[in-house]
Each structure stands twice: as C-alpha cells, then as structure tokens.
Amino acid sequence: MSRPVLAYLDHSASAPLDKATRAAIANALDCLGGPDALHPAGAAAAQMLATARAQVAELIGSDPDEVIFTAGATEARNLAVKGLAAANRPLGPHVVVSAVEHPAVMSVAQSWMRDGKPVSTAAVDQSGRIDAAALAAAVGPQTCLVSIHHGQHEVGAIQDLGTLVGAVRAQRAEVRIHVDAAESAGTLAVDVTSIGADAVSIGGTALGAPAWTGALWLRPGARLHPLIEGGAQEAGKRAGPVDLAGAVALGHAADHTRAVLSARATRRRRQATILAERVLAVPDVRLNGPPVGERLPGHLQVSVRGVTGESLALALATRGVCVSPGSTCSADAGKASPTLEAMGVDAAWTRGAILMTLGDSTTDDELAVAAGAFAAAVADLRAMSPL
C-alpha cells in the first residue's frame, strides 16, 4: 500500500496537470483522424496540431514551421545533437559540450568518444556556470557542434547564453549550437531569435505538460538529420504519427506559461527562499549551485554531510515527502554526482545531494512539512551512521 503524499517536491521529474491541460488532452484523444488525413476528421486533427505548434512557437518567439514535436525533452536533445552533428559533417568531426550537460546530451558525447570521435568538455565554475573563455578555447577549425544548456538540471545554474553563444561564434561563426532549455522554459524567458543558436530543446514538464512531451526548435537551414525515418511528419525530422494529445498538451501549457511566466517565477523564488532557509538551518547542509535568487526559480539542490542522497530521499519518502536524490534523471545511479564533481565540490558532499523542485501546486504548508521531515530524517540517518 502506498504512503500518503504530504509534500510533493519533485516537479522537475513529473508535475500534476492542471484541469485545463487535462481537458485539452481529453479533447485531443476524442479526435478520430490523423493530421495528415484528407477527410474532415483529419482536418480537425490538423487544426489542433497547427494551433499547438503556434502556441509553442509563440512562447519561444519562433515561426510555427520551426517547431518539431518530440516525445519528451530527452528525445529533443538527442535529435538536436545527433541530428546536427550528422547533417553538418562537412564542418568537421569535433564536438564541444559543457562538463555539466544533461545525461541526454552527455551520454551521446560519451558514445562519440568511445567511437573515437573528438569531443571536448568545457569547464564550469563552483556555481555550475559555464566558463565562456573555456568554451571558446575548446572550439577549433574542426568543430561542428557545441551543446550547452540554459538552466542546469541539477544545481539550477542559469547560463549567460548571450556571452556563451557570442564566444563560440567569435571562434567559428558557422559552428552549430544547440541550447538545452528543457529545464528553464517554464520559468525563464526563452527567445530563440535573441539566443542566436541553431536548435533549442524544450520539455513538457517545465511548462506544466506531461513529461512525455517536448519539442525542438530548429533554425531554418541549420541542417539536421532525423533520428526516426519513414515519413514526412514533422517536416521530415521525426517520422511516424505525431502524438496529437501530447502536442496539444504542450501547446496549451506553453500558452499558459506565456501568461504566467513572471508571476510563476516570482512565486517559486519566494517559496524556494522559505524552504532553503529552513533546510540550510540544519547543521552540515549546503546549497549546491548559485544562491536562490540567481538560480532556476523553485529549484533547490542541497548536500548533507554524512548521509547519501538515496538514503535521505528514501527516509523522506517514508515521511510522505517526495524528492529526488541529486538529480531527477539519475535517481538510482548510486554514484557521486558528475555535476558536483565538475564544479569542484569536495567529495564529502558529492554523494549526499537531494533535489527539491517546486511547482504551481506547491503550497507553503507543503514546505513546512518538508522542512520538518528533512530535519528529522537527517537526524535519524546520522544517528544510525557508523561514521
């Protein structure tokens, strides 16, 4: 029997759907036709899809034709880095990533390295911010692709995209640049025109859509190979029937996000400040990444000396508090965080991280419950520790 959830602080993994998004999905599920069909039912589906594409485009400042729907942010990231590198082979074989990219990018880079492809990683500072000079220095005459992120998925660092993209372009203007905005687009403005990249990934969870939804913005002429072949759907960049309900949900969430972005960010920063003050009052607990006011709104990762992130997440779960150990994307990895290691965090802290992410439904009461449970769980685990 599952335990009651008293505080849900894992919104970057999966967030509750609001009623309007849920209704939009149900409406799409009732649509019989496929968007490519010639009959009236198909026309209705095509109109729904066009509306969703326009809503996503409006959020990120693009033309609707430049939006490719994917099954989640992981696919969008994979499509971006694999597709850009494959289609732009004439630029050279070399790829540059920051040292703290999402596993969906990092794993691709590691696969390339195993295959003998030249890959460079650019260093970050102690807050997780990418060093622009290091990024530029990594770019050379054989570099075809640079992949960086906007909001860091573990420690919430926000990258200065203008400086980073400018530094890369100054080294080699024609390099293809992918920006992973999957964690940030729900709380920070993402304007693809001003970013100056060739591709930008977004994910449904951050916007308030299901985790299985996402999209890739692609600059016209950037050149991208599809991962999935076999049809002309999504401008030939993703074959197969489109997930109409998912696309509609993402479009609806994008529309809602555009309306509430600023207020949402303000609320989450206020709540994150409250939670951080209470959690950091426990001895030997540190905030990883930038201060609350300078990181992704509602995004807190803390490390606890003397316990592991997994054991703390489980101890909190028994108290009805839902968090992720370190990163929502490697909850069962049982390893020190590569992000914290890249930031130069001392080994005493790299295994004891938990990630708490807030959402639109988070209440101040939940924060109080979570803070109390955190203090009690840390005390219990330290009492059991042989160290």
Binding site: D63, E66, G83, A86, A87, R89, P90, L218, R219, P220, G221, A222, R223, L224, H225, P226, E229, G231, A232, A235, G236, K237
Partner: protein
C-alpha cells in the same frame, strides 16, 4: 527568416524530400523560391521530374560535400 523558404530534407530518403518540397511550395505564392537541402542522391532524379510534372521551375540544382541544394520557383500551374 529571409525571402527564400528552406526545406531541410537532410537525412530523409525519396520520396520524402519531394513531399516536403510539395508542402512548402503550396504555402508560398507563385514566383517565390524554395530551397531544398537533401543528401539522398535520388533527388537529382526525382526533384526535376516532379518540378516538370507540376509546373514549377527548377532554378538550380547542385551537389557539394554530399549535400544537394536545389532551388525551385513556384510556377503558375500546380498539377494534380
């Protein structure tokens, strides 16, 4: 995003590049040029034939580093 609409058909195989071109041509007025990027060599055969049969003008087509670039002007006669 510029006067020339770009159809990036890289990584797709015929007939997908021609289907993507057909969709793009339908959305621009007569006289406008659509540029197609593709790396399936069959576009050198399929695309001129499709332009001929549908009344569009193949302005240019060429290959460099394995990538075919074709420019097609929307003609006045759309075939069935």
């Amino acid at each position: 995003m510029g006067d020339v609409r770009i159809v990036d058909a890289l990584g797709t195989h015929c007939p997908v590049p021609v289907r993507l071109l057909a969709g793009a041509i339908a959305r621009v007025p007569p006289g406008r040029v659509v540029r197609v990027l593709a790396d399936d060599p069959l576009v050198a055969v399929d695309l001129p034939a499709w332009c001929e049969s549908h009344g569009h003008e193949l302005v240019a087509i060429g290959e460099s580093d394995g990538i075919w670039t074709a420019e097609v002007r929307h003609g006045t006669r759309d075939g069935a």
